[in-house]
């Protein structure tokens, strides 16, 4: 299918199904139930899953394949966001030109930064990319405030020109990003019993782009180009003596992954038209590194899982407060309830960082290949169990 072998095609279909049915899958608990707190099926978070998934997939093309660890990749995300918001300000609220410009701009930045940084390898490369990103952050936050909005970020205003669109809506508001007349925030709701599922246009738009991005990543992974990138990671010297010039390959990978980041940035701005400098801070670059490692470096689906896991913690666990805890454990006798709440409390709400840190450690310690390895272990365990069951059955059957 689509030029993929069976395994990849299955993976793509799984991702497609997960993406398309995410509003159901992420909302397993009925509205109003105690567990509803864990529902993640609201537009903003679903969009974030997908957008950071794209960011991480792109990052993995560079890091997972070539082993070059960029510690400044968020810079391209930032560039993409700024480019997109400027398009919204100047041209129109249609997301297509914004995305196109963002991808081009981030590609150009990646070309420049990559060309310079790739003159070094290993940690020296990482620090070069980090330095570039930090400079961009610092300047965007301060000196470049007229272009970037500085601390408050670049925002839309009522008096923006928007030459192909309207400066304000008839009601006197700032128009919202859309796609040929549809608004990104348009949503439909489906109520089944006490379950409420939200289908948001912006999410599906991002979802389709994720699928395209994922598909392209599979193609890259399986292509001769991808193989060369893995060879660079394995033994650059041998590659050189085999007649391959590693430089353009790494640079191409760098630019591609920079463009993925720019795409993610543009989508962020399209879902929520604001671009801030902190998107380029080193912690943001670090976050995508962590997402990729957490999910599984060099695997196709891993980065998406890692992105999902971190964003889930950030948005769901951080919102649990002591009130909610008390309501969960209200069934316990009073003393015990307080005790349990006291035990759990440091790990949720404002303690979500602690939980995140612990999860990072547990994952690397017990699942060296990241979450993907966890999945593999479960599936091989299941397969073994089935095999053993089949085994038993076949044994009971008389042999011919």
């Amino acid at each position: 299918m689509l030029g993929l072998d069976k395994k990849d095609a299955v993976l793509l279909v799984i991702v497609a199904v997960l993406t398309m049915f995410a509003p159901f899958i992420l909302n397993p608990f009925p509205e109003g139930s105690a567990m509803a707190q864990f529902n993640a099926g609201y537009p903003d978070l679903m969009q974030r899953f997908v957008i950071f998934g794209i960011f991480a997939i792109g990052f993995n093309i560079l890091f997972g394949l070539t082993g070059y660890l960029s510690f400044g990749h968020a810079a391209f995300l930032g560039v993409g966001s700024y480019a997109a918001v400027w398009m919204f300000k100047l041209l129109s609220m249609n997301v297509i030109p914004a995305i196109v410009l963002a991808v081009i701009m981030s590609g150009l930045f990646a070309l420049l930064i990559g060309y310079i940084s790739l003159r070094r390898s290993g940690i020296y490369f990482s620090i070069l990319t980090l330095a570039f990103a930090q400079m961009m952050f610092a300047l965007a936050y301060s000196v470049l405030t007229p272009i970037t909005g500085g601390e408050t970020g670049l925002q839309l205003a009522l008096d923006d020109p928007r030459i192909l669109g309207q400066s304000q809506t008839p009601e006197g508001n700032i128009p919202v990003p859309g796609l040929f007349g549809f608004e990104m925030r348009d949503s439909a709701e489906l109520v089944i019993g006490s379950w409420v599922f939200t289908f948001n246009l912006g999410y599906y738009f991002c979802g389709v782009i994720l699928l395209l991005a994922f598909y392209l990543a599979i193609r890259i992974f399986r292509s001769p180009f991808g193989m060369m990138l893995r060879a660079i990671k394995s033994n650059q010297q041998r590659l050189n003596y085999t007649g391959i010039n590693p430089k353009p390959y790494t640079l191409a990978a760098f630019v591609i992954s920079g463009m993925y980041a720019g795409l993610a940035g543009a989508l962020m701005a399209s879902m929520d038209p604001l671009a801030g400098a902190e998107r380029m801070f080193w912690t943001a670059s670090g976050e995508v590194v962590l997402m990729t490692i957490l999910g599984g470096v060099g695997t196709l689906i891993g980065p998406v899982l890692g992105a999902g896991a971190i964003k889930y913690m950030e948005n769901i666990i951080s919102k649990i407060n002591s009130d909610i805890l008390h309501s969960w454990f209200a069934f316990l006798p009073d003393g015990l309830e307080d005790f349990v709440v006291t035990i759990v409390y440091p790990f949720i709400g404002k303690g979500w960082h602690l939980t995140l840190g612990i999860i990072f450690m547990l994952v690397v310690i017990f699942l060296p290949g990241g979450l993907v390895e966890g999945g593999q272990r479960i599936s091989s365990w299941l397969r073994n169990r089935r095999a053993r069951r089949d085994d038993r059955r076949s044994k009971t059957e008389p042999a011919e």
Partner: protein, 413 residues
């Protein structure tokens, strides 16, 4: 309109920093919110509800609906704050978002609420821009701003330090820093001070020694630290370390000024704040009925007095509830109408006006000074003067607030 409450409850979103450098401030804000909810629902001693000039609230929630709340973590980052606010709006059905501990976050979330069609009641945000170039019809600020700090401080400084001082500004290199520097400069220069230099310092700076060391050489006799939070704690500590306060320049004692004080910052800077002037929105030692009532109910519940951030958050919640009650609906545009031009009293800063043109509160501003002999770890500042509201009022089109438009209120869909 967005998230119209249909059941017997109404959900408010409290969006405060729970991680990062302002986590303690966020925690105090959250305490205030919880207290406010308790009072709105008829619990506790009612706090400021009894001193509030409007008597619309009756302790049965808002419009008879029990107040519930959700909390989120802004991380003091615009993106995270918006994500958190969005989840409150999209997932939890919040009709109002409030909180925040920096202007960047306030401006970002305010714009979001405008777009989504919910009311935003800003928490701690001091930049002129929040109700200046970045104002929004759905957003309201109770906290004072840079301009007001300047206007309140200048006369006190003139009275204490004379009118021919040479000031050296260190300014945090971002929007809030810029507006604060501008405000303090223009108000002190109006009194005859001279500004020798203004140097921008990076947000991420931790050691300010190289910025502070040249101050004495410049011939300045006053140092203005347009810094907040960790920046302020460190720059002030460094300045004292360099012995600036023991020096004499131009025949005068060298002085340091911190335009915006908060209790947590004062605590972080320790003994270094002693005798240093600054301004603040509110302080627990105020003796009006409203403040006393609030301090009492907060102190009883939590064991220590509230911070100015807690105060502003508490008041914003009551003001919102009251506006809904008066409007008779949660509909944002009706609430906006009820708040615009609304005058009230009894919430701690004397008679206060929510100005219609920019949704900024106008009220008395406190000039404070680091206390020489604190009696407890909360007793760090003493009120030097309560600057009357008239002195800090400015026209809506004041140049420091130029640009941007309020727009029209948005009810969402």
């Amino acid at each position: 309109f967005t998230n119209e409450p249909t059941g017997s409850t109404v959900t408010l979103g409290f969006n405060v920093p729970q991680t990062g450098p302002y986590a303690d401030e966020g925690a105090d804000e959250l305490r205030a919110y919880e207290l406010a909810v308790e009072h709105l629902n008829g619990g506790g001693d009612g706090g400021m509800m009894s001193t509030f000039s409007s008597k619309a609230l009756d302790g049965t929630g808002i419009l008879g609906k029990k107040v519930e709340y959700v909390t989120g973590d802004t991380q003091t980052k615009s993106d995270a704050a918006r994500a958190s606010a969005k989840s409150m709006i999209e997932k939890d059905g919040a009709v109002m978002i409030t909180g925040g501990s920096s202007s960047g976050v306030a401006v970002a979330v305010q714009a979001l609420c405008q777009e989504a069609g919910v009311i935003f009641m800003a928490g701690l945000t001091h930049s002129n821009d929040t109700t200046g170039k970045d104002k929004r019809a759905n957003g309201f600020r109770h906290f004072f701003n840079s301009y007001m700090s300047g206007a309140a401080l200048a006369p006190v400084l003139a009275a204490n330090y004379g009118t021919d001082r040479k000031a050296y500004h260190l300014t945090a290199d971002y929007n809030w820093g810029y507006t604060t520097e501008e405000a303090i400069r223009s108000s002190t220069e109006a009194m005859g001070w001279e500004t020798v230099a203004a140097v921008k310092t990076p947000l991420t700076q931790t050691d300010f020694s190289s910025y502070i060391a040249p101050v004495l050489q410049s011939g300045a006799d006053t140092l203005v630290l347009n810094h907040y939070g960790g920046n302020m704690v460190n720059s002030l500590t460094n300045a004292v370390q360099f012995g600036l306060r023991d020096k004499q320049v131009n025949g005068k004692d060298f002085q340091i000024i911190v335009p915006l004080y908060s209790r947590l910052m004062a605590k972080g800077a320790g003994a270094n704040v002693k005798g240093i002037f600054g301004s603040t929105n509110w302080h627990w030692s105020l003796q009006d009925d409203g403040s006393k009532a609030f301090v009492k109910s907060f102190g009883t519940k939590y064991g220590f007095p509230p911070s100015q951030a807690a105060h502003t958050c508490y008041v914003q919640t009551l003001l919102y509830a009251d506006a809904v009650q008066r409007a008779g609906t949660f509909e944002p545009c009706a609430v906006v109408e009820a708040l615009e031009g609304y005058e009230f009293d009894g919430l701690g800063n004397g008679k206060t006006l929510y100005r219609a043109e920019d949704h900024q509160c106008f009220k008395d501003v406190l000039v404070v000074k680091g206390k020489e002999n604190p009696t407890s770890e909360f007793d760090l500042l003493e009120i030097v003067e309560v600057t009357p509201v008239a002195q800090v009022t400015y026209p809506p089109d004041h140049p420091q607030f130029a640009g941007g438009a309020l727009g029209t209120c948005n009810n969402g869909g």
